[in-house]
Amino acid sequence: MPNLKSIKRKIASVKNTRQITKAMKMVAGAKLKKAQLAMNEFKPYASTYEKIIQNIANNTILHNNPLFEVREHVKNIGYLIISSDRGLCGSFNINIFKEALDSIKSKKLDNQNIKLYIAGKKGTDFLKRYNYNIKHNASATVKNAENDFIGELSDIVSKDFINGEIDELYFISNRYVSTLTQKTDSIKILPIEKNKEPINSGGYIIEPDSNEEEVLTKIFNDFIYTEINIRLLESNAGEQASRMNAMDNATRNAGKMINKLTLTYNKARQTAVTLEILDLVNGANALK
């Protein structure tokens, strides 16, 4: 017969856990709203930017920019992996790691030729165990005032690409679909995809025309910055949503566990009471 006291202690501890997960769910819910707002605000900017880059890519005239350069022998591949800084968010990070490892393996390159740029502490912790070349790691928390680390990250990746340190660059991140679903997405960012058949090769006038290269370089660098930024914002919203769901599940499971334990406790108590009565009755009978 399980000890009455130990069951009681267990119930109390599960109740505590439930309280914590409930609180975490609330916090994640509040943060999710903020993150969603930030993401939705930035989305039109990012999608317009993507469209502009597509328009530019359709123009063969601009293909001599270094960021368009397709290299025949891909020796080094860069991955920008966006994970989260904190855990306890369900399968959020696991999905990212799985996608990253699968993608890296499919390239069949030496470990040292895989260069990783990681945003998020969890990603760094996990990928440290493998023998990849981690070039840069940053936090994944987008602060409202200072987005400086995004600038740093985008500078590093575009510089590494131009210098030939990496021949291709992929982004792996969770894209926000809805509160219940986040899609893990792996996309080739560099070299910028260009259309083989020029749809619109009328060319562009670029102003100020004295330093055409500089204008384009700034636009493309800003593009990478924007892409990183929108992905971080989406990942952030996804992380909060994922945590909210995970904590909701945990709270519900804790409730179920409490019910089960209470039932066991009551049964045990009942048994104890019955035994005691039996003892009493037997004792009384013996005296007759």
Binding site: E41, F42, P44, Y45, T48, Y49, K51, I52, N55, I56, N59, N200, G202, G203, Y204, I205, I206, E207, P208, D209, V215, L216, K218, I219
Partner: protein
């Protein structure tokens, strides 16, 4: 041939519609755009974007950004 104008900053879409005429404060001076303009990319400096729909004229203040025009569609991205 209508001219499509889309102005976006990092917070929201400021304007997205067809216009008859548009004027932007490009780095090299104010540029007037009518339908059929050649494709261009240009940085913007501080000033005002003006656009006309029939007889009504509107303005939007600009600090920094760039504009891209292709196929009679102007996209203007503003910072901040």
């Amino acid at each position: 041939m209508p001219l499509k104008l889309k102005i976006v900053n990092t917070k929201k879409i400021l304007f997205d519609d067809e216009v008859d005429y548009c004027e932007i404060p490009a780095k090299c001076g104010i540029e007037g755009i009518l339908p059929g303009h050649i494709n261009f990319i240009s940085f913007l400096k501080e000033g005002k974007i003006k656009y006309k729909i029939q007889d009504s004229q509107n303005e939007i203040e600009v600090k920094e950004g760039f504009a891209e025009l292709s196929d009679n569609a102007i996209s203007i991205l503003l910072k901040g």
